[in-house]
Amino acid sequence: MAAVAAPASWPSSWLSVRALRCWLTVYRRIWRSSIWSSVLGPLFYLGAMGLGLGTLVDKHGTAGLGGVSYLAFVAPAILASGAMNTAMGEASYPVFGSVKWNKIYVAAQASPLRPGDIFRGHLMFMTMRITMNAALVTVYMWALGATRSAWVLLAWPAATLTGLAFAAPIAAWAVTARSENSFAYVFRFGMMPLMLFSGTFFPLSQLPDWLRLLAYVTPLWHGVNLCRMLSLGQVDLPVALANVAYLTALAATGIWAGARTYRRRLYV
């Protein structure tokens, strides 16, 4: 009987990179369609919120914002929540579609790639998209004078980590979804409240105590807080480490879960 010549187990990172390269090829073909939302979206946000609304806010004094302009206050939050939005966009419909519509996963699973490789390769691509968009917002922030410190350079990876903390668990869940309707609920009842109540557009101190405690548990607050401390150069190290630990734990849980949910979904 013919023996299997190839090693029984390929190094997993290598196989994941093969999956990543598929997404890069696809991206080279479709990047134009995402360019406007990536390039102009955050610019509109920064302009409308930071400069438009900001002018109004700044007139009434910014003691509640910690003495910085509204633009400086809101910009790092737009960075972090933008990373969350990119993560949601990349980890929901594209993951679901890879099973149901264009069947990218189904095609890949007939190759040496295993479900975990397919997952991690796609997650690498999502992380790349998150980091690209975050880099752009960071540059805007600097160009608009919204930053107060060179630490803002670290806000960029911090935003990427925030995005990953969303992308990994969402992808792990999205692959199991039976219908794309579930995503609308997550957008409406998950992301919207997070966007509004995570200290993004106004400080958490404006919220009643119970709601503030709730906000501390949500991942976006950790991302926003981390990015804001770095952008303003007011880093409280223990808090920053706690933020990083929280986001890392969430990302790690998602990565662990994804390998399992992908296997369950693809190997029936």
């Binding site: 013919a2 190839a6 390929w10 696809v26 264009n102 095609a107 190759s111």
Partner: protein, 321 residues
């Protein structure tokens, strides 16, 4: 076309590539594959013939190492599909029932992406792509997007893609379902050439003509088990009379005629919804005998026995029901 599969050493017929014993697949309470045994030899074309829901696709997915067996034994290329799935799949080609091409990419890009899954260097992929597109007669569409291609062209591209890693075994799940007759013949012709080059083909189909054209050996599958196995010719000889007389009487007389002809053939009579089939040695003689009883069919046809008849005999159902 130096590279195409087939350069694999031709080994004697006795080399078993896939071996199954008591192979079973359950989905909850439902048993899709119910303890089947088979051996597939290198170089042969082996067919799973059966209606929808017979367990063919479940069997294919288990052989493709993307569906762990519930119980029983399965060995592919000498290895365990659950433990060594990745390494086994590196040596398989898969043409799934539904196309999984990326329609946003071009023909060439589809092969590039797929070749990379197998860890092939870009240069090798480029060489093989040229040869494969030539082979499936798609060379002139190399730079085209996949989306507007016809069903037949997409199928041929899927076949080309499945060959990018020079597989030893090519698994085809209903390769021509949904294609028009002309497109089906092109696909059959290409598969036949692959077989001649020594590629082992495993295919499922519910077209008896496809099974007859391509398969050296086949199993008739129904409700997750094998109803019979052998070469198409053996099966016809074993389960079917040399000739079949097909009679149509029209709706008014159908039941009356069916009743009269129930025991007419010494071998067997099948009453379908619209036709009556008499399994006989001499079709013309049987037709004359039917007429002599006073029954006059609207239409009559004498034909050879086919796998469709075998299937009907073994399962009491038609293949495409």
């Amino acid at each position: 076309m130096s590279y195409l599969p087939g350069n694999v050493n031709r080994v004697s017929q006795s080399e078993v590539l896939v071996r199954a014993r008591g192979l079973t697949k359950r989905f909850g309470e439902f048993t899709a594959v119910d303890g089947i045994d088979f051996d597939l030899y290198r170089g042969e074309a082996f067919g799973f013939l059966g209606p929808n829901g017979a367990g063919k696709s479940s069997t294919m997915r288990m052989i493709g190492c993307v569906s762990p067996p519930t119980s029983g034994e399965l060995t592919i290329l000498g290895a365990d599909p659950v433990r060594d799935g990745s390494a086994i799949r590196a040596r398989l080609g898969v043409v799934p029932q539904e196309d999984t091409l990326d329609v946003e990419l071009t023909v060439v890009e589809n092969l590039l992406v797929y070749g990379r899954y197998f860890g092939l260097p870009r240069r090798v992929i480029r060489e093989r792509t040229a040869a494969l597109l030539e082979f499936v007669q798609l060379a002139d569409r190399a730079g085209d997007k996949v989306d507007p291609l016809s069903g037949g062209l997409k199928r041929r591209l899927t076949i080309a893609r499945s060959l990018i890693n020079e597989p030893e075994i090519l698994i085809l799940d209903e390769p021509t379902t949904g294609l028009d007759p002309q497109a089906r013949h092109v696909v059959w012709d290409r598969l036949f050439r692959l077989k001649q080059r020594g590629v082992t083909l495993i295919l499922t189909t519910h077209y008896m003509d496809e099974a007859e054209q391509l398969c050296d050996r086949l199993v008739v599958m129904d409700h997750g088990t094998f109803a019979a196995e052998g070469s198409p010719r053996d099966l016809i000889a074993r389960y079917c009379s040399p000739e079949v007389l097909e009679l149509r009487f029209g709706p008014e007389l159908h039941e009356l005629a069916a009743d009269k002809l129930k025991d007419f053939s010494s071998e067997r009579t099948e009453v379908l919804a619209d036709r009556i089939l008499l399994y006989v040695t001499d079709g013309d003689a049987a037709l004359a005998a039917v007429r002599s009883t006073g029954l006059e069919p609207l239409t009559s046809l004498v034909r050879r026995g086919t796998l469709e008849d075998v299937f009907l005999h073994l399962t009491g159902r038609r293949l495409e029901d």
